[in-house]
Amino acid sequence: MNEPMVIPIQAYLIVSTLLFAIGLMAVLTRRNAIAVLMGIELMLNAANINFVVFWRYGGGQGMEGLVFAITVIALAAAEAAIALAIILNVYRRFKTVNVDQINLMRG
């Protein structure tokens, strides 16, 4: 870790941006609710990369970036558990996990 960092911050940010966009695309376009959940996980990972990058390039003194990242991972785990439970319940009730077929709230 002591060799000079030659990778500019933009490189990491581009990767995280693209990851976020791919996750978003999955959320917006996949029919399967589990796939949508996977998209959300991708977006969370993109955000996490940003936290760590800014921690590292922001001087590495404070620990906020890492604390946030750990919190996000923990919450992502909780969210995944809850979401999958909901999906199972929905599947039992509607016999489908296709998000576009679940429109009880249609106006």
Partner: protein, 195 residues
């Protein structure tokens, strides 16, 4: 825009150490290509499995950035926990790919456009601003300091997260049990009538 950005990256790759940027490029591709496959793959089990290299590559990026503990957590929680959970869910819900069924909804085009628009706007911001962060200072004792921070100034957040985890644990059990608890109410009969 993208061209100037590419120049920055290209210059940095060939002006400094060679292997270090190479590792970065490999990891980046290891993040993005499986991610695209996750978003596009017809088979849900494949999609869930494609998550694995993606998340592992993210852990590699963490390593490059000097966050060893976080990389470990990423592997443990994501690869060991969430992905397995998702695989279970896929298997429990007839999620296995049926080639005749559409995997994308009717707003596929607009969804892609929206995602690309977000990426475009953010990339434009990245190319526009001057990110004078400079080379990061050397860090040491990251894990120890992180532990101090978590149990020191951020202990409240830490405890709240643990409570949330507990609540999520109980909540997901209750939700997933669903109709297992026999309730002689209108709800059950409704559900059966719906079927």
């Amino acid at each position: 825009m993208i061209g100037s950005l590419w120049n920055v990256i290209w210059n940095s790759v060939f002006s400094g150490s060679f292997w270090y940027p190479l590792a970065f490029v490999c990891l980046s591709l290891g993040v993005l290509i499986p991610a695209v496959l996750v978003a596009l793959s017809r088979n849900m089990v494949h999609a869930a499995l494609w998550l694995l290299p993606c998340l592992v590559s993210v852990a590699g990026l963490y390593l490059m950035l000097g966050a060893e503990l976080l990389a470990g957590i990423q592997i443990l929680v994501y690869c060991g926990g969430i992905v397995v959970l998702i695989l279970f869910a896929v298997m429990l819900t007839h999620g296995l790919g049926d080639p005749d069924v559409r995997v994308h909804n009717q707003q596929l085009l607009w969804g892609v456009v929206a995602a690309m628009a977000v990426a475009g706007v953010v990339l434009r911001l990245l190319s526009q601003e001057i990110w004078q962060s400079g080379p990061p200072v050397a860090v040491s004792e990251v894990t120890g300091r992180l532990a101090d921070a978590l149990l020191g100034p951020y202990v409240l957040a830490f405890e709240v997260v643990s409570v949330i985890l507990l609540a999520a644990l109980i909540g997901s059990i209750v939700i997933a049990r669903g109709d297992a608890a026999p309730e002689p109410g209108a709800d059950d009969s409704d559900a059966e009538a719906g079927e």
